[in-house]
């Protein structure tokens, strides 16, 4: 508690530490954006000159453009499939009572606790077995990759939608019933719209989770279906130059725009 009117040392310290925290959070982002304009090939200070050369270079490499398109496709599909599933799961967890409800709730959040590389390796082995049984390609296909990314989106959706359902005033649903709305109408006209902020936020985070994912995808991508993060890693194996910084800057830009646009519809700070 602050004492009113007293210029406080506490408040100064607080502000300083907040500023330092922000600096630490944003330093890597700022570094990447800045170095993407440096002229020299090996990053060093100060820059010898500023250039857009690396952006041209990135544009000239088809693996990045193809990677971007693949990543966008996979992220959209994964979010499009995972969010409805996660929402349904959240509804079941919050609204119905059945044995093992808590266990399922924990299970759905579990993918967050498994390192992506481990999950990816596990999925790879599972896909190999499934291919034998089903006699069709799964690993290194878009379907296989999307299925894996759906696993990334479900925990986020469940968490966000459960939170929004728990904060929802059930009296509004009762009021709708009181006014003559049957259970389905109540859900469609009252419950779903009230859940909207949680669902929108879940969709956004799901998209970002998938779009940025590297570790889970590593073993599951196939030729011609390399996602952008994997393409960047591949490039890094042979060369180090600011082309990667340019690509990363574009990636940051896409995610940033997505967050700003989402925030216009749903105040993210209120949901998350």
């Amino acid at each position: 508690m602050f004492v009113a009117g007293r210029p406080s040392l506490g408040r100064g310290l607080m502000r300083t530490s907040v500023a330092i925290a922000y600096l630490i959070i944003f330093a890597p982002v700022i570094m990447i954006v800045v170095t993407s304009f440096f002229a020299q090939q090996i990053v060093s200070f100060p820059p010898t000159a500023l250039t857009l050369h690396w952006y041209g270079n990135a544009w000239g490499k088809p693996e990045f453009l193809r990677g971007l398109i693949t990543s966008l496709q996979v992220a959209l599909l994964a979010a499009g499939i995972g969010v409805p599933i996660g929402t349904a799961a959240a509804l079941a967890i919050v609204r119905s009572q059945f044995p093992g409800r808590n266990a399922i709730s924990t299970l759905l959040l579990a993918p967050l606790a498994v390192p992506g590389v481990v999950a990816g390796a596990g999925l790879y082995m599972f896909y190999v077995l499934a291919e034998d049984v089903l006699d069709r390609d799964i690993k290194a296909t878009t379907q296989g990759l999307v299925a894996a990314h759906v696993l990334l989106t479900i925990p986020w959706t469940v968490r966000l939608v459960v939170a929004s359902l728990q904060g929802l005033d059930r009296a509004a649903e009762e009021a709708a019933a009181n006014l003559g709305a049957g259970p389905l109408t109540v859900f469609r006209r009252i419950t779903l719209p009230m859940m909207r902020p949680g669902i929108v936020a879940a969709a956004m985070f799901s998209f970002i989770q998938s779009f940025e994912n590297l570790d889970l995808s590593l073993l599951l991508v196939g030729p011609g279906r390399i996602t952008l993060p994997v393409a960047m890693l591949n490039y890094l194996e042979f060369r180090i130059d600011p082309t990667l910084a340019a690509v990363a800057t574009l990636q940051i830009l896409i995610v940033g725009i997505l967050m700003v646009v989402t925030d216009r519809f749903v105040k993210l700070s209120r949901v998350v």
Partner: protein, 359 residues
């Protein structure tokens, strides 16, 4: 509008019993208040009437129609919730129109009725606002309009004023009561606020532990409480436990002998002496039979409250604040005063709840 009857309505939650064989009827156009402390079963009762909660046993009837097994959305009651429960994503007008839409009214007719309803609660100019853009009082009026516009069989109010500040609450109380009388709404009001219940209700039902303690007009309950719980819950009361002497006097547990009028106090189970603070008058000096020393004088504006110790008992007395020239104005702590009351003012009532169900 319909009348309401409840027959032996019971609700159990696992081992505990929330409402215990409740019988109650509300006549057409009547406002009945369910009054009681939290956990007394009043809200559970209301929820069973609205259809949100299935009763364990018993029946609910609107007029003579048994609605016990009818789901909430087919009961056609108009409820105002404690939290108002407005739909946050709809404007005030859309909120009011929701029930009409569910009844399949065409848009034009709907709009006419929405306008009428908003006018009724003096919100015509705010129909386009979202709930979060309205003040608490305005939200409450939208909730009222929304419940009334569907022309419900029964008007249900669940602590409708508890989220308003004190000044607004007094105004809205009068407003709702006037509306209810003008439209002849059969109304059930659930409240824990005795003042709200006394000022608004035609009849009052005092509940405790899932059972009815007493039903009657506000005046009956205030002046003729059936037991100490009702006496205390309906208004402030000096309640002195003790027993009745053969002489007709009442002896408190602390040995104070008090005169009582046996004609109005036939109850055999009289284990407490109940006397409203405003029914006692104070005279300076020790001329009366019952006298003692003033312990505290609290100025409350229009009224003044005196705490007077008589023997080992403390009496709370509330009088209109005396004018500067009246003898009472000079009374201060430590002064000796006499207490007087009309012989029929005190009630002898059972002290404990063991008397069980009342008729």
């Amino acid at each position: 509008m319909a009348s309401l009857s409840i027959e032996k309505l019971t609700k159990r939650f696992n081992a505990s019993i929330a409402v215990d064989e409740l019988d109650l009827s509300v006549r057409e156009g009547e406002l009945v208040a369910l009054l009681g402390p939290s956990g007394c079963g009043k809200t559970t009762t209301l929820r069973m009437i609205a259809g949100f909660l299935p009763p364990t046993s018993g029946r609910v009837l609107f007029d003579s129609e048994d609605v016990t097994d009818l789901p909430a959305h087919k009961r056609s009651t108009g409820m105002v919730f404690q939290s108002y429960a407005l739909f946050p994503h709809m404007t005030a007008a859309q909120n009011v129109g929701f029930g009409l839409e569910m009844r399949g009214l065409a848009a034009a007719e709907r709009n006419t009725k929405i306008e009428e309803a908003l006018k009724l609660v003096r919100l015509s100019h705010l129909g386009a606002r979202l709930p979060r853009e309205l003040s608490g009082g305005q939200q409450q009026r939208v909730a009222l309009a929304r419940a009334l516009v569907i022309n419900p069989k029964l008007f249900l109010l669940d602590e409708p004023l508890s989220n308003l500040d004190a000044k607004l609450r007094a105004e809205v109380r009068i407003e709702i009561r006037a509306l209810q009388q003008r439209l002849g709404l059969t109304t059930l009001l659930v409240t824990h606020d005795r003042e709200e219940a006394l000022t608004m209700a035609d009849r009052l039902v005092v509940m405790e532990g899932g059972r009815v303690r007493q039903i009657g007009s506000p005046r009956e309950l205030y002046d003729e409480p059936q037991d100490a719980f009702v006496a205390d819950f309906v208004g402030r009361c000096n309640i002195l436990p003790g027993r009745r002497e053969d002489t007709g006097h009442f002896r408190t547990g602390n040995g104070l002998i008090l005169p009582v009028d046996t004609a109005v106090n036939e109850s055999k189970n009289a284990t407490a002496f109940a006397l409203r603070p405003e029914r006692i008058s104070i005279l300076p000096g020790t001329s009366g039979d019952i006298h003692g020393a003033v312990e505290a004088v609290t100025y409350l504006g229009a009224q003044t409250e005196y705490h007077v110790r008589v023997g080992k008992e403390i009496f709370v007395v509330v009088r209109q604040t005396p004018g500067a020239n009246e003898p009472l104005a000079a009374v201060k702590p430590q002064d000796l005063v006499s207490l007087q009351w009309e012989p029929h003012a005190p009630r002898l009532v059972p002290q404990t709840s063991s008397t069980g169900r009342s008729s």
